[in-house]
């Protein structure tokens, strides 16, 4: 049963996260600071960047030796060879490239620009530029936060770790779910009747992706620092599935 009313609330005043910070404690503190008392069925959307930062997923570009492949590709892309090397190290394959654009299949299956690595909103390390990789296991990160909050607050709070993705055929980025726990990232509608009792043609909905996109409206993308958004009012009856369920296997993608 979908919500009659859905409320998304920005968690403000979250400190800049550093490697080794405990995301669970930061989250509990953020709820307190924002006078929020999360309940069973609430969903917390967490920006990928602060998860990666807490997990220390930085790479100092000065320490990277680009391969011949990275050097050649960087030249054709007009990008930095060290940066391209880091992207390739996170990728299974290059999907498309042209000057300024490098779309890869990330080792976790996400098809995305630059393997999700970027320079923005990152303080420079002393004397060098550092970049931030995606979390090693975003579903695992979401699961740990879900369990931490269950212990600390006594509530089952769904977790979505979000990022902004470009799309093949549409302009502009939208929020998507890199990781999820405690909710069905994908909902199978097969067999459910439509308004007239027929079986539905649309068989699966990207529930966690829609949640991440909704949170994107509150997070903003530029100089506003809203890395967490609490969503209240969602309902679901489908079984829990991680965000990995949202990745279309390469052999089923719409281009083969």
């Amino acid at each position: 049963m979908p919500a009659t009313q859905l409320t998304l609330t920005a968690l403000r005043g979250i400190k800049l996260v550093e490697p080794g910070d405990d995301l669970g404690s930061i989250t509990v503190d953020a709820f307190t600071a924002n006078a929020l008392a999360p309940e069973d069925g609430d969903v917390l959307v967490v920006a990928q960047k602060i998860v990666s930062k807490a997990e220390g997923r930085y790479v100092d570009l000065a320490t990277v030796s680009p391969s011949d492949q990275a050097i050649a590709l960087a030249r054709s892309l007009d990008k930095d060879p060290q940066f391209v090397q880091v992207v390739l190290s996170e990728a299974r394959r290059v999907v498309r490239h042209r000057p300024g654009l490098l779309i890869v299949e990330h080792r976790l299956g996400f098809v995305m620009a630059n393997a999700g690595i970027d320079h923005s909103n990152l303080p420079s390390a002393e004397g060098g530029e550092r970049v931030l990789l995606l979390p090693k296991d975003p579903d695992g990160s979401a699961r740990r936060l879900h369990e931490h909050l269950a212990g600390a607050l006594g509530a089952k709070i769904g977790i979505v770790i979000s990022d902004s993705f470009g799309r093949a055929w549409r302009k502009g980025t939208v929020g998507i779910a890199l990781g999820a726990a405690g909710l069905p990232a994908l909902i199978d509608m097969r067999g459910r009747p439509d308004l007239f009792g027929r079986a539905l043609q649309v068989t699966e909905t990207g529930f966690a992706d829609e949640i991440a996109a909704a949170a994107g409206l509150v997070m903003g993308q530029a100089d506003e620092a809203v890395p967490m958004v609490l969503v209240r009012g969602l309902g679901w009856s489908a079984p829990e599935l991680p965000a990995a369920a949202l990745v279309r296997p390469a052999e089923h993608d719409l281009f083969r």
Copy 2:
């Protein structure tokens, strides 16, 4: 400035829309019935189906003569030749097909399954099956509703006409914007500083698509009839752009 709090409210009790119905009056009545008083800056998300129904975009499959191309394609897809003919009539080109799946570029540029035509949630016409096309001009439909509401309610209410789309590399459908008026469907972030004062790498956000995805969480997709959702709390400073701005021109798509 993104919202601190965003509220999405389902408009319930909307009657089944018939060809020739006035969507403007239906909307005003729905606000009243749901005790909602929309304000400047609110956004109303309207499901494509009720817009198409009001515009009478039905095709009776019994009246369709399939071309040789449609017959051959239908055989390879294991679909109905008349249905395939209607899809082709709405399409610029076939993007991909395989048994059970027909992805086309719609005449409006949307890359989507079956040109957005489906059978679900449609009452059968007497003695035959009818299908429903997308609105002829979704941005125009949104504009008309925007202007009707400005006249009737004295408020500037953004309009998004939404549909559910599959994605190339991800499973599950998500809400997207087919039409928009009174808001920036696409927001250009170029030149905006990030938290550390650098120019952003992500340059455009699919604002109306994120709004449509958020509304999808409230609309549901099966036997729940929530064809309108009111979104309150969004803020924007970017210039208005129609949903056509979200269509990546074919010559720029990520597969050429």
